[in-house]
Symmetry: C2
Subunit: 432 residues, 2 copies
């Protein structure tokens, strides 16, 4: 009997690091004023399919016992946090204050075939800003800045955020006289997966493009700059349209807002488009330069209408989502994440003998009231065995009750240093 | 399109309190040295049914699209955290250090018919201590002490923990010459629901007991004392058996360990037995004296063998589980929980005009680096409207950039007090 394949679970020494990550992400989201919401894991299938997405494999749920009530709605597990957000905002519209800034850190489920780097259950960490009618463009720059700050705090150095604006691609293709731009955008978006040759071939074979036009479509997708020079490079392609100008202006504004981040973190990458999604302006794809095969680890963008299928209000927004589990699992596998201790305990109070248990319990309690994580060894076995337990669990300090002429003492199990200590004032050294 | 009935979701102002609760519970668990684990929401049905439990309504999951791979295991959502713990310990046995002390705070799912106070998805907050072969009895006392500490921190005053030991009931009934004690225990366990008359009737009708014997069975179940006097009251019933003596000794030890908690919090309640569960010694049921109809809000006990159905090792343990959602929902409904602010933001930086956005962003950033939650109003609308936004979201401070001869100023929106402030040193008043 083992856990189901395609699902991931961590040992305590990895989970303690995952918890630190989740705390750091939450703290950063909150520092920018995003409030927490959680939605049920389960939505009606009609809600999950409201945007017509069918490329995500949905899990449906049914009661095992009994025949199942015919009146029961058809239910499924959410496969992202955006559809539930749309339903939540529509349902609680009158109780929310706009602009509504929410974060949501929850597991989502997809019925993927198990394969490396694909999980059937994973954490998504989302932020979105939603407002009535309009959202200023500077929020489009705030999203990547927040994600960069998180990755910096987590010590992930090779993070790169690729940014584009769908209006640039659409405007450019329209300027080339292409009417149905969607399949073209979709093919150019695959540039990093299928390469230049692949894009040209698919444009010719799937859209029936002449080779010269296909080259011109590829040309814009090949532009990827860490600065504002993309503007000149697009202009040099000699295509004009109002939409293209608007897209370039917006992308230029966003890139300029992010100019103070370290060079190379932010890239204007004119190939990306986030597939068929409902994004209408800025789009993001975050990657690790160190692990290109890992693909996109966060993504998002701006949309014109979050809740269109649920209520008749125009609620534009911009948001971004970090796919935490795949990233975390990769860094664990690559040994870029060192396991933490197997226990949150900071101090093991040595249990000397049965007569002194009350005294040991009381000492533990004094330390605990002062905010420390403390446990007693369960039984008064040999001291060496108790210390071995501490060391195996990664507990950094052992506490010794007064003995003979000695008072309380505490031992740093890493340095081996042992010294007198008062349980009402002692603190672990901040070095740890 | 609304959320599915039987599922609960909170507005931001309630969720912020739920998060504080979850933090407090986690912090307390960690302070006693319990490590965090999480298991997948999904287990094989065979795992979920391994202990033969069928009274919990299990949700099965299937892929919506495609025919479903015939080789796929039958999968279901976990309905508690104990079965996944058993599977986890069996699967990772060689990587864990024993005694293994884990906490687990996750949602679980049950296909209940929607009704008041019953949810199909809810948080459970579990701790368990598991060891090879033996676990000292003082852990049986630590569990209620930890839960009491949590409820005290959460400001829940009417909490009462009812404690019994299954050996007391079983030993007593055996001492009365009853061979099949299970149905008798089961009926006496229902005392708080069906009353004395109900217990007598069911003992006579369902087990075919003589009225005199039924009265003697009821007599032990009626004993409920806040101190050690239950021992004398049991002895006064004149029944003897070795198992009864052992049970009384154990319960007496546990009650004695908890003697320093405020009077009335801990009750030796000889009726409770946790139904058909796999508990073998101490059992717990926590309730709110204020809301008896709410029923059990936490429960647990000691078991001889956690993983018996998965590996051939004897792993006894003791644990307790808080059913958070039902408790939280009840206290929200009864207005015992006041809504928090609609946002974690502590300071709203007023956005004076477009020219000064960079300056406002920088001020926000300085405050944020110092650990504060800060946002800018999105657009430079009238100050009064920006302040109204802060007040509607429950943001306690508004920050004003230097203007004319004035420097930075901060306004406490509750007191109305406004004063000069330096963004590199200012702190909100600790009163909040």
């Amino acid at each position: 009997m083992t856990k189901v394949s395609g699902f991931v679970e961590w040992l305590p020494e990895q989970r303690i690091v995952e918890l630190q990550w989740l705390d750091e992400i939450r703290r950063t989201f909150e520092s920018y004023g995003f409030c927490s919401i959680e939605t049920p894991a389960v939505e009606e299938i009609e809600v999950l399919l409201a945007k017509g997405e069918t490329d995500k494999e949905i899990y449906i749920i049914k009661r095992l016992q009994g025949e199942g009530d015919k009146s029961d709605a058809r239910l499924g597990l959410h496969y992202d946090l955006t559809v539930p957000l749309a339903r939540y905002v529509a349902e609680h519209y009158n109780d929310l204050v706009f602009p509504f800034k929410r974060y949501q850190i929850q597991r989502v489920w997809r019925g993927e075939r198990p394969q490396e780097g694909r999980y059937r259950e994973f954490y998504q960490c989302d932020i979105d800003v939603i407002n009535n009618n309009t959202i200023p463009l500077h929020f489009d720059a705030e999203m990547p800045a927040i994600v960069y700050e998180i990755f910096k705090r987590l010590g992930i150095e090779s993070f790169q955020m690729h940014i584009n604006n769908r209006k640039v691609l659409e405007g450019y293709f329209k300027g080339l006289g292409i009417e149905d731009t969607i399949p073209v955008i979709r093919i150019v978006d695959k540039l990093d997966k299928i390469g230049h040759g692949g894009v040209l071939t698919q444009l010719q074979e799937q859209v029936g493009m002449e080779s010269e036009l296909a080259e011109r479509c590829l040309a814009i997708g090949s532009i990827c700059t860490p600065d504002l020079s993309f503007v000149e490079r697009v202009r040099a392609l000699g295509v004009q349209s109002e939409l293209l100008e608007q897209g370039l202006d917006e992308l230029q504004f966003v890139m300029n807002e992010l100019r103070n981040l370290p060079s190379g973190v932010i890239l204007a990458d004119l190939a990306i488009a986030r597939g068929f999604d409902y994004y209408t302006g800025t789009v993001y794809e975050g990657k690790l330069a160190e692990f290109p095969a890992l693909g996109t680890i966060c993504s998002g963008g701006r949309y014109e209408d979050l809740t269109g299928s649920f209520i008749s209000r125009k609620l534009p927004g911009v948001g971004i989502s970090i796919g935490l589990t795949r990233l975390f699992a990769k860094l664990v596998a690559e040994k870029k994440i060192q396991p933490g201790p197997k226990s949150p305990t900071q101090v093991l109070v040595i249990f000397p003998d049965d007569e002194r248990r009350a005294e040991a319990v009381q000492t533990a309690s004094i330390l605990r009231e002062r905010g420390l994580n403390v446990e007693l060894y369960p039984t008064p076995i040999k001291q060496a065995q108790q210390l071995r337990y501490a060391s195996r669990k990664g507990i950094p300090y052992a506490w010794f009750l007064p003995y003979a002429e000695k008072g309380h003492e505490v031992k740093n199990l890493l340095s081996g240093e042992q010294q007198a200590a008062d349980p009402t004032t002692w603190r672990p050294s901040p070095a740890r």
